[in-house]
Symmetry: none
Subunit: 252 residues, 2 copies
């Protein structure tokens, strides 16, 4: 099936090396993807990458964001990438072959669940943080050798995009699953997360010392619900009411 | 089928950039290939790549050759790589998906034609020369966009090696699917429903006239979440806290 590559956002989080940013953009040009977003890049690195000889049009139109939430706001599926295999599995981990075909389904023209998809890549040194990961629905994993699991950033981007294009023709027989029709966009899901978090804060569930990790936990829990858009609206309505009540009570 | 990755020789011909040599070696480590040969590299570049921080064992054991003939001498299949699509087709050009599986066959343990295989990559600027190509049985081609056919050397190596490893394990079930494991039992789900419903009643979301239909709506919403058991426990903890707070406030 035809494939809307413009619906994919490649998101580099905290990239530090201009060569890697350039390499990621080059792989995007090679495989026909145009939408690059960089979250909180080293300004020097980003400028250097942009002004490098042969820098692609992809870099010229790249968008800079200050948060992951902003970078994925218009996406209904948010996928992280990770080299780490045995990290506590808070997320479902899908090998690239399988995850790639799920992403392709979402990008198919005329597919039942035709969505924008974000694929996140972390910094060269640390990968994606737990906070970054809490925005993700699941994680992509490139199978590598146990002793050499960590890939170069530019190469990881190239391999992932290759896999997406690889079977673009093959995927024709994929049946879109009706189950996940019309998933809620990330900004609505994030709004729900913030509302629930406020309700938890107002009711004393959140402890000051662990506020950060509780917020991540809540975010992950909500992402795992894979909310559909109409349901997301209902949840917002309910949580909004609960939060208003708790706020009013707190003022008494 | 098991796969003898040590039978593959990755051959870089006239590589000029130490970073690319290093990147090629890193991708080899990632995907479990050990035999790198460099033909006539810029000595400075090669030494620099070798002495770089984090240079892999692959580079330490890389063999330097002065001619392509020498580098492929012990191989029964020699495959070139090319970005160029419409060059006079003196060679058969195979897309990576197809060519990769032909190479894999040759590397299979106990395969009928179990051979050493060389895959050649040309210089960053010129690719493989006609002389280099004359050593090849056929050419591998990574499908790219017409306007951006030329890939970065390190990325091209990574993508080719990924393809070779990609389906090596396809038969074996890699990841038990975590997806639907351990769904929450109905009584837990119903407990969550009741908690949420109470929170909604205490915060004025539920109207007396429509109480019955609101409860049904909430129950359906929660069922659609398909909660897994550990997540159900977390939701109960959060809702319990919110309900307690609302109850206490109501008594004030």
């Amino acid at each position: 099936l035809p494939f809307e590559s413009d619906r994919l956002r490649v998101v580099l989080v905290n990239a530090r090396n201009p060569l890697n940013i350039g390499a990621a953009a080059r792989a995007m040009s090679n495989f026909g993807f145009r939408n690059l977003r960089v979250v909180n890049p080293f300004q020097v690195a980003f400028q250097e990458a942009r002004s490098a000889v042969g820098a692609s049009g992809v870099l010229a139109r790249a968008e800079q964001c200050t948060t992951v939430a902003e970078a994925v706001a218009d996406c209904a599926l948010v996928v992280g990438t990770t080299a780490v295999r045995h990290r506590d599995l808070l997320h479902r981990l899908k090998p690239l072959e399988e995850g790639g075909s799920l992403i392709r389904e979402r990008l198919q023209t005329g597919g039942l669940q035709r969505d924008n998809v974000a694929v996140l890549f972390g910094s060269e040194k640390y990968g994606l943080s737990n906070e970054d990961l809490s925005h993700c629905h699941w994680l992509l994993h490139i199978r590598t050798e146990d002793e050499h699991i960590s890939m170069n950033l530019g190469q990881a981007v190239a391999v992932c995009l290759y896999e997406l294009m690889r079977s673009a023709g093959e995927g024709a027989q994929l049946q879109p699953k009706i189950k996940d029709v019309n998933p809620a966009p990330a900004e609505e899901v994030e709004r729900i997360t913030q509302m629930l978090f406020e309700a938890l804060r107002l009711s004393g569930y959140v402890k000051p010392r662990t506020e950060g990790s509780t917020e991540e936990k809540v975010r992950r829990l909500i992402r795992r619900l894979s909310l559909r858009s109409p349901d997301a609206v209902a949840w917002q309505g309910m949580l909004h009411r609960i939060v208003l009540k708790l706020r009013r009570d707190a003022k008494k």
